[in-house]
């Protein structure tokens, strides 16, 4: 459904490409997480899917990006990014339109721009408000919200336009733990309720492992790892490329040689996986002793 075909992209005035020879097929309704160190090309990849590259950022693009059979370079931006592809940015504040005074109007902003008739708009907005638990905030100014609340409003504002693909560029990077939790719960709601294809850049491994079907890792513009979340997140290659494995993985690794982690079990990426594995190892020891 989304296909990148040998894509190499260089930003204008940059000496080196930000992405080298990327080929990737993303199937419909899947949830793809993207990891990689700063500067590895993750945001560039997202901008390509949304069509911001090449329409907003010019630069040199080789290869093709095809979404639902259409080449993004040949399709005008207004036909790509919303209605097709919804985009949620890192900075909650800059994502607010700035033109609307209440949360309700803010969410409707995209629909207004698309010329949706008022009655339909109203219904869609109310549905989304309820879906994301924002009904209490309807009359508040978007600028008076906490970071987590702002990001939820941004997510709702994009989701209400019913895109087929949703791209999230580190939506919780600038949030505190409570905001992060709020946003991920909202994403969970989204994933449970609608068959969108999701592409998310995120480094919080526990959440990735909870939602993603597939995980890719980028390093210096190249695609270096691709597989199931647990496999990629516990791969030793992650350390090499500067992403690093989670502490649960480190804990299991450090005790593995002493038999602290079952040999036949994949290393853990999350708390639950870790608890299960360590308990099993301990039971085994108790049987021995």
């Amino acid at each position: 459904m989304i296909q990148l075909d040998r894509v190499t992209y260089t930003y204008p005035h940059a000496k080196l490409p930000s992405l080298y020879d990327i080929s990737l097929k993303i199937s419909e309704s899947s949830f793809l997480a993207v990891v990689g160190p700063n500067g590895s090309g993750k945001s560039t990849l997202c901008a390509l899917v949304a069509g911001f590259i090449p329409h907003h950022f010019h630069g040199t693009l080789q290869g093709q990006v095809i979404i639902d059979g259409r080449d993004t370079a040949a399709t005008p931006l207004s036909k790509l990014v919303t209605p097709q592809v919804g985009f949620v940015f890192q900075n909650p504040f800059n994502q607010l339109s700035g033109a609307k005074l209440t949360v309700r109007e803010e969410i409707a902003f995209g629909l207004e721009n698309l010329g949706v008739p008022r009655s339909e708009m109203s219904q869609r907005v109310d549905r989304v408000l309820e879906l994301f638990g924002l009904t209490e905030l309807v009359h508040r100014s978007p600028y008076e919200l906490s970071g987590g609340e702002m990001q939820r409003v941004a997510l709702a504002s994009v989701f209400v336009m019913e895109p087929r693909v949703l791209v999230l560029d580190e939506p919780t990077a600038q949030l505190d733990p409570w905001g992060t939790r709020q946003v991920f719960e909202a994403i969970r709601t989204l994933v449970q309720n609608k068959r969108v294809t999701v592409i998310m850049i995120e480094d919080k491994s526990e959440w990735i492992a909870a939602f993603a079907d597939r995980l890719i890792a980028l390093h210096e513009g190249r695609l270096v790892l691709d597989g199931s979340p647990r496999t990629v997140l516990t791969s030793s290659h992650l350390d090499e490329i500067g992403v690093g494995v989670s502490r649960y993985t480190q804990a299991a690794r450090s005790t593995q040689s002493a038999g602290g982690w079952p040999r036949d079990l994949e290393l853990p990426a999350t708390l639950d996986q870790a608890v299960a594995g360590f308990k099993r190892a301990r039971k085994f020891y108790e049987h021995l002793g």
Binding site: P37, N38, G39, S146, A173, Q174, D176, P177, W178, D203, G242, V243, G244, S246, R247, Y248, Q250, A251, S254, T255, A258, G259, G260, L271, A274, V275, F278, K279, A281, R282, Y285, E286, L288, G289
Partner: protein
């Protein structure tokens, strides 16, 4: 150089009291993490250390200087402050010049400034970026530029406001190593952070704040063994602490190394 906070009260102009009578002593060379939910008053507290905010009641002393009687620029010689957003201070065309801004304000000799800038850039790993325009760097690197500009002032006390936000593994490792090195040099390091794991790995003393008050003040293991109190202050424990709790290991465990030790002991005991 000690920091002495005595019955500190502070309210915003609209009358809302933000700090309700805090008292704390921070000794020279300590590594202190201040944690707590948003609105607890963490930022407000540390802004009193370099005089950006003055007490409404009570006093804050840096060494023997009462902050009420000194300007921010004067206190900047003792307390270096890293703000959250480097883009709200960078204005020079070259990284070198940006890092030199602080020492320049201290009216040091050009040779001394050059020495300090080079040292600071080496400490943050940006020596080969000195001639670049700061905005050619990634946002996370700009944060290190801002940090370098504070380090170049060579203050005995450093305050870091959310230094980990936006950093990848490289950045966190570099930051952690830097904090350990600076502490070894005898500097006092105070950080506000939500990253419990990072704090557990690099800080020894924790100040837990809630609604303008200090609810816990103690060594790392002491603080992370009071799970109920932490939960009430809306703080999520470090990952290893949670893991150890779930496995009912004798605690408190806060880092991977501690976990490995404790876990190995329980296995041997089986």
């Amino acid at each position: 150089m000690n920091i002495s906070v005595n019955d500190l009260h502070f309210s915003y102009p609209n009358g809302v009291e933000v700090l309700g009578g805090l008292s704390v002593e921070i000794g020279s060379g300590e590594r202190l993490a201040i944690i707590g939910q948003n609105g607890a008053g963490k930022s407000t507290l540390v802004k009193h250390f370099n005089g950006l905010l003055k007490p409404a009641r009570g006093a804050v002393n840096i060494g023997d200087r009462d902050t009420k009687n000194h300007s921010v620029a004067q206190l900047a010689r003792c307390v270096g402050f890293l703000f959250q957003n480097p883009d709200e201070q960078i204005f020079k065309k070259r990284v070198f010049e940006e890092v030199a801004f602080g020492p320049d304000n201290l009216e040091l000799s050009p040779e001394e400034i050059e020495k300090r800038v080079s040292t600071a850039l080496a400490q943050v790993g940006l020596s080969d970026m000195r001639e670049r325009h700061p905005y050619d760097l990634l946002p996370a690197q700009r944060k290190f530029v801002a940090l370098a500009s504070v380090l170049a002032m060579d203050t005995p006390i450093l305050v870091l406001d959310e230094p980990t936000i936006g950093q990848d593994r490289y950045g966190l490792t570099r930051l952690g190593t830097l904090i350990d090195d600076l502490a070894q040099q005898g500097k006092t390091i105070i950080a506000i952070s939500h990253d419990m794991d990072f704090c557990a790995e690099h800080f020894e003393r924790f100040l837990v704040m809630k609604q303008g008050r200090i609810v816990m003040d103690g060594a790392k293991h002491q603080v992370f063994s009071h799970n109920e109190l932490l939960a009430k202050a809306y703080i999520e424990s470090p990952q290893m602490t949670r893991l150890a709790l779930a496995l009912e290991l004798p605690g408190p465990v806060t880092t991977v190394n501690e976990f490995a030790d404790v876990y190995a002991k329980t296995l041997r005991g089986c």
